[in-house]
């Protein structure tokens, strides 16, 4: 009966290996998480970019770059989730995007998110919201935009983030719209835009 015993033992060992996959639902309770709703309408767009980098992968990259770039490694350590969604949209879909931006903005306002940037003119609509934690760091950052090239952009970064490190995060992961933000000075705006900075 030894082989049978070995089989049972092997199966028990296999069963003890836990998959570290984390569904997005695991982050929903975090104050920095934003639910934009369904993007199903845009799934057939000719251009789509969907990036979802969760805790285990962020921790892995953090560990991997620790020796080469300790500052960036520390930045990643504080993050739990980076979600980026970009869709090329037509005129009709642009109205849907405007609706998502409006409804999400209203929801964020009720959850004590601060609007940092608002740019709206005939060519573009950009909204940036932040959720502040203790000691002035962000616990969440959200960017929603419809740009002049008809790209709808939705970004949500969950976790502790030093505002000064945003540029580095944007450069390393090429996150759209983040590179235009400067929380120490002024954000970039087109002259004459209707804007609202807080």
């Amino acid at each position: 009966m030894k082989p049978l015993l070995m089989c049972v033992l092997s199966l028990s060992l296999l069963g003890s290996v836990t998959l570290a996959q984390e569904p997005v639902e695991a982050y929903k309770a975090h104050p920095g998480y934003v639910d934009f709703g369904s993007f199903e309408k845009f799934q057939n767009s000719p251009k789509t970019v969907e990036v979802s980098i969760k805790g285990p992968l962020l921790k892995f990259v953090s560990k991997a770059v620790a020796m080469d770039d300790p500052e960036f490694s520390k930045l990643l350590d504080g993050l739990l989730l980076i979600q980026v969604n970009v869709f090329g949209v037509n005129d009709e879909q642009a109205l849907d995007v405007a609706g998502i931006i409006k409804s999400t903005s209203e929801t964020l306002a009720t959850k004590q998110w601060e609007r940092m940037v608002r740019v709206q003119d005939e060519n573009q609509h950009v909204e940036v919201y932040t959720q502040f934690g203790e000691n002035g760091s962000f616990t969440g950052l959200t960017v929603m935009a419809l740009d002049e090239e008809d790209n709808a952009v939705f970004v949500n970064i969950v976790g502790t983030l030093d505002p000064e490190q945003l540029g580095k995060l944007s450069a390393k992961f090429n996150i759209p719209k983040l590179d235009e933000l400067d929380f120490n000075g002024q954000s970039e705006h087109t002259p004459g835009d209707k804007k609202n900075e807080e």
Binding site: T18, P46, L57, F60, N174
Partner: protein
């Protein structure tokens, strides 16, 4: 008689288990994904052009050879962490009237059910790239890529303890300045 059947059954199970553990049988998820992508492309013709499958036995042999190489002995260490590599490349014969092709959601769902986590999906100019990873106990246990280009479908799966390998690559090459997602 019953005892014989029981012994045959147990031996068969052990052999099957060992075969799977040694990657002697193609992994079902790898076959499933390529099959579902190809099925979704019907009637577009998709023909297999290249297939590479390296299981643990071949990797062990490569490791033994690499360990004897005096100039790059560390390669043997990295090879020891790889369990399975599979690459399939298909020619996609699009004619002028063919519709835009895409990686079907079923392919993603099948992988997700088997513990693969999607982290990048890009579609632009008729090309599509879907990337997945598998993490076990805070370590990277596999990466999976499905790439649909103009006239090629490429499916790649690498399984094993990839932490050390990728860490080394990142330390040598650095994290690229901006992943080209846009």
């Amino acid at each position: 008689m019953m005892k014989k059947i029981f012994i045959v059954l147990v031996v068969s199970l052990i052999v099957f288990g060992l075969a799977v553990a040694a990657s002697c049988i193609p992994r079902f998820e790898f076959l499933d994904v390529a099959t579902s992508v190809r099925a979704s492309m019907y009637p577009t013709q998709v023909q297999k052009k290249f297939k590479l499958r390296v299981g643990s036995m071949m990797i062990l042999a490569a490791r033994m050879i690499a360990s004897r190489a005096t100039d790059t002995p560390e390669i043997a260490d990295y090879l020891g962490d790889i369990k399975n590599v599979q690459i399939s490349i298909y020619d996609v014969n699009r004619d002028e009237g063919s519709v835009a092709l895409a990686i079907p959601p079923e392919a993603d769902h099948g992988l997700k059910e088997r513990g693969w986590e999607p982290f990048v999906r890009v579609r632009d100019n008729g090309q599509q790239v879907n990337l997945f990873y598998k993490a076990i106990n805070d370590g990277l246990a596999g990466v999976y890529a499905v790439v649909l280009a103009e006239d090629k479908l490429v499916v790649v799966e690498v399984q094993g303890k990839l932490d050390k390998l990728i860490e080394k690559a990142l330390q040598q090459q650095g994290l690229p300045d901006g992943l080209e997602l846009m």
